[in-house]
């Protein structure tokens, strides 16, 4: 099962104050007024969560308050060392092999020479399949998207050569990609649509192929004015140097880019997730073979479920 997603907590959260009452919302009154107000406890009314079961697991927050606050402000989270050296090496070798001879279900695209994009890499199996379900990433995904109701939308690898271009996405309210939107409620209820987990297979740094973004741009109301500029000429852009095997999880609604490698080619794994009702990215439909070989794995099979709005059996909470 998805970590921490074994079921709903027994009691709904209250916004403030003790669970089960709304008393915490009331401001303390000056003592002289106490006799003038009704001190009868406010009867708690049922909430949507009490009555229906439409958002499974969304009431279980897996991130600390610091982590929630950071992601809401910045739009990303760093995940150090999600792959070990053996997995990194296996990933590189498989990508090299796929770039020479794509296997069934994996498609190859040369976006702009010298960059190679491999689409639907989970079909290749091994570490490329396992990497869709890394625990540190899942912990964030369950918090950021929609409780347990999230799924894999796309998987890719990028092999970027010296001279590959970097293109800054729009991000924020002006981003035309509706499927990338960012939302967070007053109690840290994240409802991101597309969330990306990007894993570096090579060391990257500010001068050499780093992932970069504009922190906070997922909440920008205005379009960024940098469409015609080189990445080096975008002042608010911040580099996130990653060591091989480390990852960054970010909302697609944050303005981001990959800087060009300077010395050697660099490889990345990219997994994108969305709410359970989001369609597959074209070309990323799981094959029958992939579904068959992952059916005994509860996490992978959960991620590969066909799109759905609610799990079977939900909406039956109220008698």
């Amino acid at each position: 099962m998805i970590p921490g997603g074994q079921g709903r907590a027994g009691k709904p959260r209250s916004r403030t104050g003790s669970p089960g009452t709304l008393a915490g919302r009331r401001r303390p009154l000056p003592k002289k007024h106490l006799s003038a107000v009704d001190t009868t406890p406010i009867q708690r009314l049922p909430t949507e969560e009490d009555v229906f079961d439409l958002q499974t697991g969304s009431d279980r927050q897996l991130l600390s308050l610091d982590e929630q606050h950071f992601f809401d402000i910045a739009g990303y989270a760093l995940l150090p060392e999600v792959l070990d050296p053996g997995q990194i090496e296996e990933s590189r070798q498989r990508l090299e092999s796929l770039a020479r001879t794509p296997s069934d279900g994996v498609s190859l695209r040369r976006e702009n020479d010298p960059e190679v994009e491999l689409l639907n890499i989970v079909e290749a199996g091994g570490v490329l399949e396992d990497a869709m379900a890394l625990h540190p990433a899942l912990r964030h995904l369950q918090a950021l998207i929609w409780g347990r109701q999230f799924r894999l939308i796309a998987s890719r690898a990028r092999i970027r050569g010296v001279g590959s271009r970097g293109c800054l996405t729009q991000g924020g309210k002006a981003d035309p990609r509706r499927y990338a939107s960012y939302r967070c409620g007053p109690e840290g209820e994240f409802r991101c649509l597309l969330v990306t987990c990007l894993i570096a297979l090579d060391d990257t740094n500010a001068g050499d192929g780093a992932f970069c973004l504009i922190p906070g741009s997922h909440k920008s109301h205005l379009p960024h004015p940098y469409a015609d500029r080189e990445l080096d000429e975008v002042p608010p852009l911040r580099d996130l140097p990653l060591t091989a095997g480390s990852a960054v999880v970010f909302t697609e609604n944050v303005s981001h880019a990959l800087r060009p490698p300077r010395l050697e080619s660099q490889s990345w794994l990219e997994f994108q997730y969305g709410p359970s009702y989001m369609e597959n990215w074209p070309g990323c439909e799981p094959s029958p073979d992939l579904l068959r070989r992952t059916q005994a794995d509860p996490v992978k099979s959960h991620l590969l479920l066909a799109p759905y709005y609610h799990p079977a059996g939900s909406q039956k909470k109220m008698d």
Partner: protein, 283 residues
């Protein structure tokens, strides 16, 4: 098939009222001949057994979920309250997918590209009701109401078409105007709407009228205390990257060859992740 409501642009007042209230009542969008054809088709279906209906690729789901509320006694004769898919009936039900009287409102409130994600029929007798559900504060992602950058970007818009006259006594649709923007949980959730409550607005309709609403609007139906059956069609639309609701977009054989391009695209769904062209995005 003709429709009475004129085609064309959504007016500034309608935009204002939709943002203010979360719904619009569109009068006379179905003409009497269209209504007659639809009701005759349903009359015929209701003479069939559940098994015979299933053989036509139609479902007949008797109301048992927790949105439905049997408040009064169930009818002694005929079918119990039920809902089910409707597009396999074809004909006027198929034409409603891209109905000229409602399509401009969908394009305005959702934006493009979009798809039909469900179409269903509901029959409700005396004694039945629907409890209040949804509201902005619920944070249900697939129903989000959004207006930003001077444009609606709603994640789910539904249209209920009245096939029969439905007054307050007949269990009409009811909403809490403004709840699509409320940041507080709906205290009336799970209750059958009380038409006398100051926040509740029942929306009586004549046959042929339609209510277009954001799914983020708290909505339900008051108890049907009358003797008339309430017949309603629900057509639901969403951005193209959202999937269909189960079998509720299954169509009749031959649809692909007879549907116009727009209708076909709405059912099959346009490319799910295409970006909205820049000239359609007010920035």
């Amino acid at each position: 098939m003709s429709c009475h409501k004129g085609e064309g642009m959504v007016t500034a007042e309608e935009r204002y009222l939709f943002d203010l209230n979360g719904y619009l009542v569109l009068r006379k969008v179905l003409s009497p001949p269209v209504l007659a054809a639809m009701n005759e088709s349903i009359d015929r279906l209701e003479t069939l057994s559940d098994q015979e209906v299933e053989a036509l690729n139609l479902t007949r789901k008797y109301q048992q979920d927790n949105v439905y509320a049997q408040v009064g006694p169930a009818p002694q004769l005929g079918l119990a309250d039920y809902s089910g898919n409707i597009l396999p009936c074809g004909g006027p039900f198929e034409e409603l997918i891209d109905w000229p009287a409602t399509l401009p409102y969908l394009e305005e409130t959702i934006g493009v590209p979009m798809r039909l994600d469900a179409a269903s029929f509901m029959s409700r007798h005396s004694g039945g009701g629907f409890v209040f559900h949804h509201g902005y504060a619920e944070m249900l992602p697939y129903s989000e109401y959004v207006f930003e950058q001077d444009a609606f970007r709603c994640a789910s818009i539904k249209i209920s078409f009245a096939l029969t006259d439905v007054g307050v006594e007949d269990g009409c649709f009811a909403v809490i105007p403004g709840s699509h923007k409320s940041h507080f949980r709906n205290p009336l959730v799970g209750q059958v709407p009380d038409p006398a409550h100051p926040l509740v607005r029942p929306l009586p309709c004549e046959a042929g009228d339609a209510v277009l609403f954001s799914e983020d609007l708290s909505h339900g139906a008051v108890e049907n205390r009358g003797s008339r059956v309430r017949r309603t069609l629900f057509y639901s639309y969403a951005p193209a990257f959202q999937c269909a609701w189960g079998r509720l977009t299954e169509v009749a054989p031959g649809f692909e060859s007879r549907a116009n391009p727009r209708r076909l695209e709405l059912v099959r769904g346009p490319a799910p992740f295409q970006e909205v062209p820049a000239d359609l995005t007010p920035v």
